[in-house]
């Protein structure tokens, strides 16, 4: 389990990184925290010619208040994000989800951008970005663009990111103070990818659900946004909800599959119950930001 040989560069700026990626013509791979990439390198499932380490680019690191939201630099270590006051205050769902990512030791190296950009369908951070309506900021020598998280993921480990592109930020829109946090995950052991998970947020104002963002993870080839459920919840009074039928709708927003750890039928069955439980809990307990 030794990687195939590769060259290594550590650019000091986004421009430099983008130039390298462009010149590599698809032969370059970006390494951030490396907690998922290095195993792939070791197994020779990934064999880049050049590894572009973005760890020395200062502007890719950190959590900042921006107009209408919070911008998380992709090189922000997961452990640092867990301790971040801005995130704790404004995006509690993000922090809840993040605490389930990997283990203490991998969170010390792993980054938010790495997790978001990789697109593991059973991982917490891609689903969180989808649920909360984040936008992925992408740069290349051709310019920059912003892609809604929902449109970013194409399939397992497949995203709209072109080989010459670099994720330079994830922008999470503001959710008002007092919004409700939804998070539940079933994994066989702590740190494992989810068998079934859901994450999101609800805003109740004036006795009605004014805003909602929910996504499954481990329930399809990508994070699965609960579009129909979101539409159904919008504008409803919490105590008028039929959670049972909503849970069926939620499951129909997913596309679970059989794998080594659980069957699609298991995921559907338990997913429905998880939906009922977590929405019920969120509304009843009123866990608020």
């Amino acid at each position: 389990m030794k990687p195939a040989p590769f060259d290594y560069v550590r650019p000091a700026s986004i421009d430099e990184a983008c130039t390298i990626l462009s010149e590599a013509g698809g032969g370059a791979t970006v390494i951030a925290g490396g907690q998922t990439l290095v195993p792939l390198l070791n197994l020779r499932m990934s064999q880049p010619f050049v590894l572009v380490d973005i760890g020395a680019i200062p502007e890719l690191r950190g959590v900042d208040r921006v107009v209408g939201g919070i911008r998380v630099g992709p090189m922000t270590r997961q452990a640092d994000a867990l301790e971040d006051q801005l995130l704790a205050q404004h995006l509690p769902a993000f922090v809840r989800a993040l605490s389930h990512v990997g283990h203490h030791q991998t969170r010390n190296r792993g980054t938010i951008g790495g997790s978001v950009a990789l697109g593991e369908p059973a991982a917490e951070m891609p689903a969180t970005a989808v649920a909360l309506g984040a936008e992925i900021e992408i740069a290349s020598i051709r310019g920059t663009r912003r892609v809604p998280a929902e449109a970013f993921y194409l399939g397992p480990y497949m995203t709209v990111l072109e080989p010459d592109e670099l994720v330079t930020g994830i922008i999470y829109p503001d959710w008002p103070q007092g919004h409700l946090v939804v998070f539940q995950e079933l994994a066989q052991r702590p740190g494992d990818f989810a068998l079934v998970g859901m994450v999101g947020a609800l805003v109740i104002e004036g006795g009605l659900i004014q805003r909602v963002g929910l996504s499954w993870f481990g329930m399809g080839p990508t994070p699965m946004k609960m579009r129909r459920v979101e539409a159904e919840l919008q504008g409803k009074a919490p105590d008028a909800l039929d959670l049972k039928s909503l849970s069926r709708l939620a499951v129909s927003d997913a596309a679970p599959f059989d794998d080594h750890h659980a069957s699609a039928e298991y995921r559907r069955t338990v997913g429905g119950r998880m939906f009922t439980r977590s929405i019920g809990d969120a509304l009843a307990l009123g866990e608020v930001a």
Partner: protein
């Protein structure tokens, strides 16, 4: 927690070390990174090995192209099976019997599993070796893979020259008439089915070897293993080299659990290549290789029927067991021990079985902690089912059937003498520690809130400390010395892969010699040190090594007494040794440090008593009883989340009788480790194969080992009674992995009993499979693909000798012409549970249908008479004494120069015989 001490000390009033929870000798070194595992060893000129492996499960190699790889800078050599054959090696089972099917370290013509090594690269670094492997091209003509036991039953044999995929078989398919009647006529007939998944032993240190040929007949191996001595013996036999030429070193080993009993394909390839290439070669298995290409274990299915009377008393039983041997098992195995111990602790009047191992295109079968553990799993889960069926309490049904001390001595239905077991007594102590009535109340209340609690119990016995009945299993040797400095050193034939034998053996020595634990150092882990011993295999080191250490220390203490008595003009009885000081009773002024006495013993021959051998050294090889039985009863409490199928273990109590406890910390550590592995087997671990024979859990992301969150705090009741061995120990290495699974399954089944029975126990009980039971539908998707347990067609099950193999025309003519005498020598092979046993049988007929003759094998010769010959069928009885007294009933069919048939081995059932005229 009781920390009883059960044997008197050598020095009166001396500090007791046996029974103390002392800190381990090994730990300061291992905690600071000063361990020496095989991959840590670096030798000058050392090169690294990587393998190109088969990517298909079954096929014929049509082309191997290595020329590009050979040109890669840093590559020193590339070997295929053809080049490596220049150093022949005979790969053997753990019992030193040659494999039943030919095995070469590298695949030559056929690949038989995904991961089968085909080409070996030797290079400057492991990374370069892997680079070269990626440049090797291998083409195959693919053959259809035989993956499951069901496949093996239906498919043509995977190994050329064999008739079926049966690797090993023993027993009788149909119960005899009496048994069948007892089963059918009983008040209650229950059947339990278990489908046990394949497990990866997964020691944290993967396999590794560093082989260096020092000269024409010197070979040094650093290898992660279970006994350096046993590896030296195995390699010596395999290579046909005198044993003295082979030195095996394994100072620290990162776990083994049965996997590292003998070197296997990769290690043998490295050994052969080191013999041919002349530079030190290292191969360290990586985790991908370990999970996909290493030997594995446990995959088996069993159907057990048991009849009970209206009072819940056992009446009769029958079982069929099949296990997947893979392509190249470390000894073709039908796992007869399952049947030997299935009912050994229970009053079961009658039992018969059929047991088979099957070859498939998967990784070979190797041992794993309690390889026969299926017996406890299926019996104890069946008993709980029976209890529910009959409305008897699970504790009560065991009380009615277990063999208590008051029932002993007894003989089990398999002929095993049972006279020193306490499973019932362990159960009583366990029950006394748990308030069942309170729990049942809590359980009922919880159910009203849709919370499902369950309690499970299980009891068992286990053979440990095996010696003398199998060629591999010898006694153990202790050599203890009081150095002239006063320090005590010992060389032991024991070996630790985490067992802490340097600690427990030092405790035995300190205790019996009367010195401080800190003053004793135990050396092991090098076959050039200390006497021969098979080390860790079958929970034996504490029993046998401990006994050897105790007796050698007592002998040495006696020697000190004789010398001190002589020096101080006292009687040996008045001499005592306490904490390293030699005292004379009533004469405190004569007390002397042991070192002072030792100095005299080594350096001042004039002061020694007449006939006294200079020095203070003693050695003792302990040959214990052939086996020592350990007993236990366990209990656990679970809560099952019936919404998700997740199981939470709330409590676990072990009540075990492992005889004298040398170190409670070590004993509890062994049990705990086994229980964690049990939890893994029941809830998490599985090595699945797809239909093409690809192992699909290639990383620890997919092969789920228990983490700290999966394992509860274990509680211990040490319900010990000393065994009949020196020191009174009983083995404790495997028990947790044997008794753990039924304990946990029973708790889950109890929790789920409002929903129904676990009709067929399919492991692991994943959350999805739990929901299958809760919802009584196929949530897991397993039901659809595996509706029935594989069963062999009758014709395949037992190869009856009635259909002789086809013979060439002329030989048929010949036999017809002669109708001929069977007189003369025949080469035959008897397939015993310990491997094939070759022998020469000489027949002499008397012309009137009478047959007498002689059996000769490596173990000796034995005559028989009174046999009968009738139309080519020869029947005779042979009474043997080893490994136990038993009458072997041969029933053979002779067709020309070919002989085939079976040999009924008493309660073990029938074994196959094949052969031809010499």
């Amino acid at each position: 927690m009781s920390e009883q001490t059960l044997i008197p000390s050598a020095g009166s009033g001396a500090a007791r070390w046996i029974g103390k929870r002392v800190e381990r000798k090994e730990d300061a070194r291992l905690l600071t990174g000063r361990g020496q595992y095989t991959d840590d060893v670096v030798l000058p000129g050392m090169l690294h090995v990587a393998f190109a492996r088969s990517t298909i499960a079954h096929g014929r190699i049509t082309r191997v192209e290595t020329s590009v790889a050979a040109e890669l800078p840093g590559v020193h050599a590339i070997y295929t099976a053809r080049e490596l054959a220049a150093q022949p090696i005979t790969m053997m089972s753990f019992f030193f019997t040659p494999s039943e099917v030919p095995i070469t370290p590298l695949a030559g013509e056929l690949v038989q599993y995904v991961g089968d090594p085909v080409v070996m690269v030797i290079a400057e670094t492991r990374a370069i070796a892997e680079d070269a492997v990626s440049l090797i091209e291998i083409d195959y003509e693919e053959l259809s893979p035989v993956v499951t036991i069901a496949d093996a039953m239906a498919a043509a044999p995977i190994h050329p020259g064999t008739e079926t995929n049966v690797a090993s078989e023993i027993g009788d398919e149909e119960p005899e008439e009496d048994l069948a009647q007892a089963l059918q006529g009983a008040h209650c007939l229950l059947t339990q089915e278990v489908v046990h998944q394949r497990i990866s032993q997964a020691p944290m240190e993967n396999r590794a070897i560093l082989a260096t040929r020092e000269g024409p007949e010197e070979l040094t191996l650093y290898i992660t293993c279970q006994s350096p001595h046993n590896i030296a013996r195995w390699v010596s036999l395999a290579l046909g080299l005198p044993q003295t030429a082979i030195r095996v070193i394994a100072k620290d080993v990162g776990g083994s659990f049965g996997l590292k009993n003998t070197p296997w394909k990769e290690e043998c390839a490295v050994i052969c290549a080191a013999m041919l290439f002349g530079r030190p070669l290292k191969w360290t298995e990586d985790r991908y290789e370990a999970l996909t290409a290493s030997n594995q274990c446990r995959e088996a299915q069993m159907r057990l029927s048991a009849a009970l009377d209206a009072n819940g008393r056992l009446v009769a039983s029958h079982a069929v067991y099949d296990c997947n041997n893979g392509a190249y098992p470390q000894g073709a195995d039908n796992n007869i021990a399952v049947h030997m111990f299935l009912w050994a602790a229970y009053k079961m009047p009658a039992y018969a079985f059929l047991s088979r191992g099957w070859y498939t295109n998967t990784n070979g079968l190797a041992a794993y902690r309690g390889p026969w553990a299926m017996e406890s799993l299926i019996r104890e889960t069946l008993l709980d089912k029976a209890a529910r069926r009959l409305g008897i309490d699970p504790v009560e049904i065991r009380r009615r059937n277990l063999v208590y001390l008051k029932d002993q001595p007894a003989v089990s239905c398999m002929g095993i003498p049972v006279d020193d077991i306490t499973p019932g007594e362990c159960l009583e102590k366990l029950v006394a520690h748990f308030d069942f009535a309170a729990f049942r109340k809590e359980q009922a209340q919880a159910r009203e809130q849709s919370r499902y609690l369950g309690v499970g119990i299980a009891a068992y016995i286990e053979p440990t400390g095996s010696a003398g009945s199998m060629v591999t299993m010898t006694g153990e040797l202790a050599q203890v010395r009081i150095e002239p400095t006063g320090r005590v050193t010992a060389m032991m034939s024991t070996h630790s892969q985490g067992h802490g034998t340097a600690t427990t053996m030092a405790q035995c020595i300190a205790d019996r010699l009367g010195v401080a634990y800190d003053d004793v150092t135990v050396f092991e882990g090098d076959s050039s040190r200390g006497g021969f011993g098979p080390g860790a295999a079958g929970s034996r080191q504490g029993v046998i090594g401990g006994g050897a250490a105790i007796r050698a220390s007592e002998m040495l203490a006696d020697k000190v007494r004789v010398l001190a008595a002589h020096l101080f003009n006292a009687s040996p009885e008045s001499v005592s040794i306490e904490d390293g000081i030699v005292h004379i009773a009533g004469a405190p002024e004569m007390s002397r440090p042991l070192g002072e006495i030792a100095n005299i013993a080594y350096a001042e021959p004039d002061r020694l008593p007449p006939g006294f051998e200079a020095g203070l050294e003693a050695q003792f090889r302990y040959q214990p009883p052939p086996m020592t039985l350990t007993s236990a009863a366990h209990l656990c409490v679970v809560e099952v989340d019936t919404d998700t199928g997740f199981v939470k273990i709330l409590r676990w109590i072990s009540s075990e009788d492992c005889g004298t406890v040398i170190n409670p910390g070590v004993v509890e550590g062994q049990i705990s480790g086994g229980l964690a592995q049990a939890i893994g087997m029941v809830l998490l671990e599985e090595m699945p194969y797809d239909a093409r024979g690809n192992p699909t859990a290639a990383t620890f992301k997919d092969y789920l080992l228990p983490a700290i969150s999966d394992v509860p705090v274990f509680e211990f009741i040490h319900a010990n009674t000393p065994s009949k061995t020196i020191g009174g120990m009983r083995g404790v290495g495997e028990g947790g992995a044997i008794i753990g699974p039924p304990t946990l399954v029973n708790a889950i089944a109890d929790a789920l009993s409002p929903f129904g029975e676990i009709e067929k126990l399919v492991l692991p009980l994943t959350p999805a499979r739990i929901l299958d039971i809760v919802e009584q539908r196929d949530v897991s998707g397993f039901g659809a693909s595996h509706s029935e347990m594989a069963t062999a067609p009758v014709a395949d099950a037992v190869q009856e000798p009635e259909a002789p193999p086809p013979m060439p025309e002329n030989s048929q003519e010949q036999s017809a012409a002669e109708a001929r005498s069977i007189d003369g020598d025949w080469n035959m092979v008897l397939k015993t549970p310990m491997g094939p046993q070759p022998m020469v049988v000489t027949f002499a007929t008397d012309g009137a249908g009478g047959v007498s003759g002689m059996f000769s094998s490596a173990e000796g010769s034995q005559a028989f008479d009174g046999g009968r010959l009738d139309a080519g069928r020869v029947r005779f009885d042979l009474k043997v004494e080893k490994p136990m007294k038993i009458t072997l009933k041969y029933d053979l069919l002779i067709e020309g120069d070919i002989v085939s048939g079976k040999c009924k081995m008493g309660m073990f059932g029938s074994a196959k015989v094949t052969g031809q005229r010499a």
